[in-house]
């Protein structure tokens, strides 16, 4: 947003247009000035009463923290809104890494468990307090058009069985989220966080028959060397369902895997485009390879572009272009930070 005129335009709306509309369309200048004067007086009054009420202990940092924490569901009351607006003129990037560590320290005893904000060494995650959907495994398999959902869940628990000490998942009640926020550290400076990225995993609906599934970079293990060695040791997958069994404290995801198309070059990068080419990983019967992974195996959001070839098929639409394509480019140019990670040094 470095070169954007949005800030000044927005100020123009606030300082000129809104006061101009508040008047009777006569003597604009004097009325705007009077309106702004009155607003200023009201604001000062609010500020004084607010400071009085809290005995002068206005802890700005804590205010901000709780705003970021509660997300969209928390309604600020009028007084705090004024104050925080005054003190934070620009958009603040929430830091899910620090929120998750303070949650782990038990600073918020009332927070819902399992914690909706959690982090690994490379990536932090944030989910809404309320799931988008409650459903049984069978229903979810139909909604998300994933016939192998039940099997993959069974496989996952068979493989990770020791982890859960024989706890059987309760298959009638699945909490499902349609989106989540993922946040990464800056590639060059691990002290700075990047703005969070929202990822969708929305099943097909009447208005979008193909659903909307974003892609992610995943790691086969809990810990990995991302982002030092680029994609080596990691893979790309499409996020299909973000869910959670009520009695387990682990968030899971159903993903469809991509294979990286091998090239003569050891890095498997296509020399002309400088990008990796991806293909759906498919079984012998042509079905996509689906798997359940713990959500914390996700390392980074990714962007892919269908490989349109010589000429893009004219029947493709914005909604169907991803579901109906077979080959994709892993678009490293999507974000500068992503580019630095993926270009071999």
């Amino acid at each position: 947003m470095q070169w954007s005129a949005d800030v000044t335009e927005h100020t123009h709306v606030e300082e000129i247009k809104v006061p101009a509309h508040a008047g009777n369309n006569q003597n604009y200048y004097s009325q705007i000035v009077r309106h702004l004067d009155q607003l200023d007086k009201c604001f000062r009054f609010d500020l004084v009463t607010y400071v009085k009420e809290y005995g002068g202990q206005v802890d700005v940092e804590n205010e901000d923290f709780s705003d970021g924490e509660e997300g969209e569901e928390h309604e600020l009351d009028a007084g705090t809104l004024h104050l925080s607006e005054y003190l934070t003129p620009t958009c603040q990037v929430p830091n899910y890494f620090s929120s998750s560590s303070s949650l782990l320290l038990g600073e918020k005893p009332t927070a819902l468990k399992p914690y909706r904000t959690f982090a690994t060494s490379t990536t932090s995650f944030h989910l809404a307090t309320k799931p988008s959907l409650w459903s049984s495994v069978d229903e979810a398999a139909i909604t998300y058009q994933l016939p192998d959902l039940n099997n993959t869940i069974a496989t996952f628990f068979a493989n990770e069985g020791t982890h859960f000490q024989g706890q059987q998942p309760c298959i009638d009640k699945l909490q499902i989220w349609h989106k989540m926020c993922v946040q990464l550290m800056s590639y060059h400076n691990a002290e700075i966080v990047q703005p969070p990225q929202t990822l969708h995993a929305i099943p097909s609906l009447t208005m979008n028959p193909y659903g909307q599934y974003d892609s992610v970079i995943i790691s086969p293990n809990h810990e990995s060397d991302w982002p030092k060695n680029g994609i080596t040791g990691h893979s790309v997958a499409q996020l299909h369902m973000i869910f959670h069994f009520p009695h387990l404290d682990l968030f899971l995801a159903y993903v469809h895997h991509f294979n990286i198309v091998p090239h003569s070059d050891p890095t498997n990068i296509d020399p002309a485009t400088g990008m990796h080419m991806l293909k759906w990983a498919a079984r012998g019967n042509g079905q996509c390879v689906g798997e359940i992974i713990p959500l914390i195996h996700v390392r980074s959001p990714a962007h892919i572009i269908p490989n349109f070839g010589r000429g893009a098929h004219s029947r493709l639409t914005k909604l169907s272009s991803y579901e109906l394509s077979n080959e994709f480019w892993l678009n490293k140019y999507w974000l500068k930070e992503f580019y630095y990670v993926l270009s071999p040094s």
Partner: protein
């Protein structure tokens, strides 16, 4: 300097297309030129002074702000700047080449069927008819154009329009190794630029 002359080298718009790089425009050269101009005609006699400076590729400024800075040279401290030298240049050249080679309708269609992540620019209307384009849009086009044109243009052309140099040069910190990579990305463009000319754009 006059708008037709390069600020960092001694070249002018007439020399465009010469295969070699002109020697850098040194502070001394410029100061001598200004001195010559002032001796030929007084700066207060603006009509005649204008004629003189035109022939010397100057813009009429005779008191330069960096004159008293020791050891400084504009050709060194005026480094490329991201908005104009990367984003604008990309928009006015690389994108035009791509539209020309891939075809406006095809590129329009490809951009219109891309899905983008939340918070990123969507190009429902394609990119050739955008109005009031800002640096922000130039940047968003850079994010997708390589993937969008891949396959419909020759490989060498694609290598030439690649934005590697732009991205690498914008890194917040550099090591010796990464500077080498910036240089090699620039060389890659120079090695493949013939392909752009061959496409007749």
């Amino acid at each position: 300097m006059s708008p037709k002359a390069s600020p960092v080298t001694t070249t002018t718009s007439k020399n465009f297309g010469n295969p070699y790089q002109h020697p850098p425009c040194m502070a001394m050269t410029m100061l001598t030129a200004i001195h010559t101009a002032c001796s030929k005609s007084s700066p207060t006699d603006y009509k005649n002074f204008l004629k003189v400076i035109k022939s010397l590729q100057l813009n009429g400024i005779i008191k330069l702000f960096w004159k008293t800075w020791p050891l400084s040279d504009p050709s060194q401290f005026f480094t490329p700047e991201v908005l104009h030298h990367f984003h604008c240049m990309f928009w006015h050249h690389n994108v035009k080449w791509c539209i020309e080679v891939a075809g406006a309708t095809e590129l329009y269609f490809r951009f219109s069927i891309l899905q983008t992540l939340v918070g990123y620019h969507v190009f429902n209307e394609g990119i050739s008819k955008l109005k009031q384009v800002t640096g922000h849009d130039h940047r968003s086009v850079q994010h997708y154009i390589i993937g969008a044109v891949a396959g419909s243009v020759p490989c060498k052309f694609l290598t030439a329009v690649c934005v590697n140099f732009h991205y690498l040069a914008q890194a917040p910190s550099f090591t010796t190794q990464s500077i080498e990579r910036v240089a090699s990305a620039l060389n890659e463009f120079h090695d493949h630029k013939e392909a752009v000319v061959q496409q007749g754009v």
